[in-house]
Amino acid sequence: MTSKVFLALRVPADPMRAFKVFTQEIASWWKPSGLFRVSDTGDGRLAFEPGEGGRLLTTFEDGSTFEIGRISVWEPGKRLVFAWRQANFSAEHSTEVEVCFEPVGAETRISIEHRAWDTIPRRHAARHGFPEEATLQRAADWWRNSLHVFKERIAGSDDA
C-alpha cells in the first residue's frame, strides 16, 4: 500500500535557479489553497527559512504565523525535504514533502513527492520484512487508481 503523491514537471531554468525561485520566491508563485487557516481562504505569505532546521512558515495579514513544517534536507540545486502540516492537522501530526531538482539539458525536472507517512523514501515494499506479494500489488493499484488520470494530465501540460 502506498500513500504518496508524486508529480513532476520541467521548468525553463537550471537546477540552482529553480531551487532558488522555489524557496526564495514562494510567496510570489504560491496559489492560495485555504490549507493553513481553517477560517480563512487565504494561505498567508509563505516563506522558507533557508537551511536544514529552518521552517516553512506562513504569515497572515494580521501578523500571526503558522509553521507548516521544518526543513530536514536543504541541498541547493538538488533536493529539499520539509514537513507538511495543514491547519486542520493535529499539532503532533505532519506529513512530508520531498522536492528534487534534476538537470535536463539547460532545464530542470522538478519532482514533488508528498508522503502521508514514512519519513524516509520507501523504494521497496520488502524493506519492512514483508514479501512483495500480489496482494500488495493489487492494493497499490487500488491506491494509484486516481493517479493515472493525473499523470496523463501532467504529461499533457509538460511542453518540455
Binding site: 500500500m1 525553463p12 525561485v21 508563485w29 502521508a116 496482494t135 486516481s146 493525473f150
Partner: protein, 110 residues
C-alpha cells in the same frame, strides 16, 4: 471528513504491520490468528495492532456466525475513502502549485 479522523487514520497507518493488516483485510474479513500468521508476528502483538486499528475506526470486529468465541475483523470503508480523497486533494494542490511555479519561472526568465 474531520481532520481528526484523517489524523487517526494516518497515525494508524504509520506502522508497516498495520498497513499489512489493512492490505489483508482489503481482500476479505479475517480472524486475528489468521492475521498474525499471515503477517508473521506473535498473536499478542497482533492484538495490540488490531486494538489500535479499531480505535482509529479503520477496522471493526464481529463475532463469527458459527462460533461466537471467534472474532472476525473487517475493514470499514469510510476512513480509507477519506484518505484516498486527501491524496487526491493533495495531488490536485501540487499540480496547481507546480503549474504556478513553472509560470512564475517563465515570467521571470531573463
Amino acid at each position: 471528513m474531520s481532520a481528526h479522523e484523517l489524523d487517526r487514520t494516518l497515525a494508524a497507518l504509520g506502522d508497516p504491520c498495520r498497513r499489512r493488516v489493512v492490505d489483508l483485510l482489503r481482500e476479505r474479513p479475517r480472524r486475528a490468528g489468521e492475521l498474525a500468521e499471515a503477517a508473521k508476528i506473535a498473536f499478542p502483538l497482533m492484538s495490540r495492532h488490531l486494538k489500535k486499528l479499531r480505535e482509529s475506526g479503520l477496522v471493526e470486529e464481529d463475532r463469527d456466525e458459527f462460533d461466537s468465541r471467534v472474532r472476525i475483523y473487517r475493514l470499514k470503508p469510510k476512513p480509507m475513502a477519506d484518505l484516498k480523497r486527501w491524496l487526491e486533494e493533495t495531488e490536485a494542490l501540487w499540480s496547481r502549485q507546480l503549474a504556478a511555479f513553472k509560470a512564475h519561472v517563465q515570467k521571470s526568465r531573463k
